[in-house]
Subunit: 476 residues, 2 copies
C-alpha cells in the first residue's frame, strides 16, 4: 500500500466512525499534510481517491466535504405483474447468462455462489478426502433411491429448527435444490397446469416450470410481507391453479421473510382451495435473525406442502446435494427421481452427513449469516453512494442477494450490453418475470466481501447508470 | 478347505479339462481312495458334493458318471409383444425391486452393478483423492451447464472407436445414463407421444418414458439381429411414432449386437419416416469382439440420433457420470438438463477425465471385457447343469446380463415369491415389458465371477424351478 492509500484508508475509517460527520468540512490539504507528515501531493492523491469512491465531494474554493449521508433509500412498492396465466419463455436469455458465467474474464455482480473460503468448511473437505481414501466399494455402487439413510437422519435433525418433526423416511435426497424443485413440480403438476408464483421469482424456478410445459400466474409481491394473499385468492377464484410455488424465507430475489401470520394465512388459503404448496427453503438457514423462521411445512398437517432445499447456499453448490420433503406426494416424487437421474452419488452424501453429525454445520452457518449481514451493509452503503438517489432497494433479511429498482424507464438488458466491454455483468430484472416485467431492476450478490476489484466494478456500474439517466432524461 | 473339498475340486478340474469325458464312468470309490490315500467316506463326500453341483450323476449299482453334456440350449425365438401403443405401468414392481436392492441380506442375481474390485480402476480412485486434497474452490462451485470441457474432449476421443467424429461442443455431460436418456426423451417428445422400443427393454428405460407420460409400442426383437425392422416399419405406417429408442450394442437384456447392415437399414427407415432415434450405448465399450461395434450416431448425417451413455457399466455407477450427444436437439437438451438438475458435480468429472487422458480407460475396459466373457461361460455352464433342459437363453455379445426363457406357462413373479425365504432375488421378465409379456423369463447378471455363495444360490434357483415345473406340469 502506498503512502496516499494508507492515508485514504485512515480517512475512510474516520468518516465511517463518524469522526468527520455527514456534510462536514474536512481538514485542509495543508493541515493534513502537517498532521501526518506527508507531502501536499500525497494528501491530494488521497482526497482524489476518496472522491472517486464518492465518500467526499469537493466544493470549489471551499475544500472537501464529507458526502451528505442520504436518507435511507425507499423500499420498492409492491410489484404489479400481469395477473393471468402466461407461458414462460426467455430460455435464451438465461442460457446467455449461464454461458457468461463460465467466462473467467467477466465479473459477475449478480451470481449466487456462496463464499467458499471460510475455515468453518474445512472439516467437510476432510470428510470428502477420508471417504475417498477408504476406496470403499459401497460408495461406488448404486445408492438407495431415497438417498443415504445417515444423511436423511441428519437433515431431519436440522429441520427441527424450522419447526418440522420429520423422520428420515419423509425425505428424499436430490441432486441440488434444482432437482428437488423439478421433482416436486412433476409430482404435483401435469403439462398445461397453472402454478401461482411470487413475482419476481428466481429465473431457474421459472425455467423448471417452463421445461415441464406449465403456465404461471405471477402474483404481486410485497417487499416485507411476501406474496399478496389477497391477489393470490383472486387468482385461485378465477383460474384452475394446481399449486403455489413460494420462497417464503429469505426470498430470492427480494430477500423478505414472510411473517408467520401470513404463512398461516397462506396455509388456510391452500386448504380452502385444495392446492399444493411447493416451498423453496434453500436460503432459510441463512436468515440473519435467530432463531431461524419456520417453514410452511411446519404448519402442514395434511401433507400438501412439498419443501425443497439444498446445501448449495449454506455449504457448497459443487456438492450437488439437496432434498425434498414431498408429504403426501412421496411415492410419486420417488418415481420422478428415478426417471430423471436414478440414485445419486454416495460420496458427497456421506461427507455432508458426517459434517452435520459431528456438529460442524450450525457453527458454520452462524458464521456465514453474520458475514453475509456485514457484506450487505457494505454493499448497501456503496450502492447508495454511487447509484442515483432515485433508486429503491430491497431489505434482505437473510441470504446474499439485493434487488435494486431504478427509475421505471430504465433498461437492464441495455445496461448489460453497455457493460460488455467493461467485463462486468449484472442479473437483469427481466429474467425474473414471465411477462416482461422488471426491465428497470437488477439483482446484485453480496456473497463475497467487497474487494478493490468488485468495489471498482460497482462504482463503474453506478457511473454507467448515472450516465444512462443523464443521456436519456425519460429514463429519469 | 477340508480333505473332501480338495478332492472334489481336483475331480471338477479333471471333468472340465475333459480327462473324464461327458457320460464317462468315474473311478470307483475304492480305487479313488487308494489313489489319493484318503478314506472311503472322504471319497463318498466328494462325490456327493459333485452330485449336488450336478457335475456327476449316480447310477444305482453302477457307480458315478460324468453328467452328459447337453447340446447347446437353443436361442429363444423372436419376441412377440402386443403391437399397439400402450401406457406403461408397473412402477410398483420396479420400486419393490429397488427396495430389495438395499437389503444386504438379499442376494441379487439379476442386478447390473459392474465388478468394482479390479486393480485397473485404482488410478481413478487416486485421481478422486488428489482432487479432494487440492480443495480447489473451483471444483466446489457451479460447473458449466454443458459439463467439464476436459471431460467432454476425452469422451469425444473415446467415441472415435464407435465411428463418431465429434467435438466437445457436441456433448453434454449428464448425471448417469438415466439423465442422458431422460434429457434425450424430453428433447424429442411431448407427453402423449408414442415411442417405439425393442421388446423386452430395460425396465428403467420404460419407467423414464412412463414418467414423461409417453406411450410405447413394443416391437418384436430378434436375439441375434435386434429390433425387427419389418415390424417397426409396420408400426411407423400405422401410428404417429415420434422416435425409436434402441439399445443396439450389447442390448440389455438380450445381449445382441445389431449387425451393421441392420443399423444402416434402421437409419434409412428413420429418414423415410422422419423420426428421431434415441440410442443407448451404455454397454457398447464392453462388446467382447474387437474392435467395438459402431453406433447409430456414426451413421447419422442429419443430427437425428441422440446417443446416450455413461461410465456406470465401464467404471463405476457411483460416479454418476454419463453423457448425451443430442445432435440437432442440442439446445433443447441443454434446457432439459438445466430444468432437471442444473450443472453436475465437477469433482468426479475431473477424475474421470484424468483417468481417460492418462491412458487408463482402454486397458481397464479390455480387462473387463475378457473377465465378463469368462464369467458368462461359467454362468452358462452352471445354468445348463442346474436348470431344466427345456430352457432357452440369450447369447450375449457383450455386457454382463443373461436372459433366460423358461417354458411358457412359468411365472417369474411367483418364482421371486418362492425365493423370498431363501434370500435370493432374480429380475423377473415381466419388468421388461409394458404389456405383461415375459412372465416366464428372467434376467441374470454375471458381472461378478461365481463365488461359492452365488453358485449355491443359482443351484437353489435351479432346484426351485425344477420343483415348480414338477409340481405344475402345465408349466412344463
Amino acid at each position: 500500500m502506498t503512502r496516499y492509500q494508507r492515508l485514504a484508508t485512515l480517512l475512510t475509517q474516520r468518516i465511517e466512525q463518524g469522526l468527520y460527520q455527514s456534510g462536514e468540512r474536512l481538514p485542509s490539504v495543508r493541515s493534513l499534510s502537517q498532521e501526518h507528515g506527508v507531502s501536499i501531493s500525497t494528501v491530494q492523491q488521497a482526497y482524489h481517491l476518496l472522491e472517486e469512491k464518492r465518500l467526499i465531494v469537493p466544493l470549489p474554493r471551499s475544500g472537501y466535504f464529507v458526502k451528505p449521508r442520504m436518507a435511507a433509500a425507499p423500499i420498492p412498492a409492491m410489484t404489479r405483474p400481469v395477473q393471468r396465466p402466461v407461458e414462460i419463455t426467455r430460455w435464451n436469455s438465461v442460457l446467455e447468462l449461464l454461458r457468461s458465467r463460465t467466462d473467467p474474464e467477466i465479473l459477475q455482480l449478480g451470481g449466487s455462489l456462496p463464499d467458499l473460503t471460510r475455515s468453518t468448511l474445512k472439516p467437510l473437505w476432510k470428510s470428502v478426502n477420508r471417504i475417498g481414501q477408504k476406496q470403499d466399494i459401497a460408495t461406488l455402487g448404486y445408492d438407495s433411491l431415497n438417498g443415504l439413510p445417515l444423511l436423511r437422519e441428519q437433515i431431519a435433525r436440522l429441520m427441527i429448527d424450522s419447526g418440522c418433526q420429520l423422520s428420515a423416511q419423509d425425505i428424499i435426497v436430490t441432486h441440488g435444490c434444482t432437482q428437488a424443485l423439478s421433482i416436486a413440480i412433476r409430482a404435483v403438476c401435469n403439462p398445461g397446469d397453472i402454478v401461482a408464483i411470487e413475482s419476481p421469482v428466481f429465473h431457474c424456478i421459472m425455467q423448471i416450470l417452463c421445461g415441464y410445459g406449465i403456465k404461471v400466474i405471477e402474483i404481486p409481491t410485497d417487499f416485507s410481507n411476501g406474496i399478496s394473499l389477497e391477489a393470490l385468492e383472486l387468482a385461485l377464484e378465477q383460474w384452475p391453479v394446481k399449486a403455489v410455488l413460494t420462497v417464503p424465507n429469505c426470498n430470492n430475489p427480494l430477500g423478505f421473510v414472510m411473517p408467520e401470520h401470513r404463512k398461516r394465512a397462506l396455509m388456510t388459503l391452500a386448504q380452502r382451495y385444495d392446492i399444493a404448496i411447493i416451498e423453496d427453503d434453500v436460503y432459510g438457514d441463512l436468515t440473519y435473525d435467530y432463531p431461524r423462521p419456520i417453514t410452511l411445512k411446519s404448519l402442514d398437517y395434511e401433507g400438501r406442502v412439498l419443501t425443497c432445499s439444498s446445501f448449495s447456499k449454506t455449504l457448497a453448490p459443487g456438492l450437488r446435494i439437496g432434498w425434498v420433503v414431498p408429504g403426501r406426494y412421496l411415492d410419486r416424487a420417488l418415481h420422478m427421481k428415478y426417471t430423471s437421474t436414478g440414485a445419486i452419488s454416495i460420496h458427497f452424501q456421506q461427507a455432508v452427513a458426517e459434517f452435520i453429525q459431528q456438529g460442524y454445520y450450525m457453527p458454520h452457518v452462524r458464521r456465514m449469516r453474520s458475514l453475509y449481514q456485514r457484506n450487505l451493509e457494505e454493499l448497501v452503503n456503496l450502492v447508495r453512494r454511487v447509484f442515483p438517489d432515485t433508486i429503491c432497494h430491497s431489505r434482505p433479511q437473510g441470504g446474499f442477494v439485493l434487488w435494486v429498482e431504478l427509475p421505471e424507464a430504465f433498461d437492464g438488458v441495455r445496461l448489460n450490453h453497455r457493460l460488455v466491454d467493461k467485463k462486468i455483468r449484472i442479473h437483469e430484472g427481466e429474467l425474473f418475470s414471465a411477462s416482461g416485467k422488471y426491465r428497470h431492476c437488477l439483482r446484485l450478490s453480496y456473497a463475497q466481501p467487497l474487494t478493490p476489484e468488485t468495489e471498482a466494478a460497482i462504482i463503474t456500474l453506478g457511473n454507467v447508470i448515472v450516465g444512462e439517466l443523464a443521456s436519456n432524461p425519460v429514463a429519469g
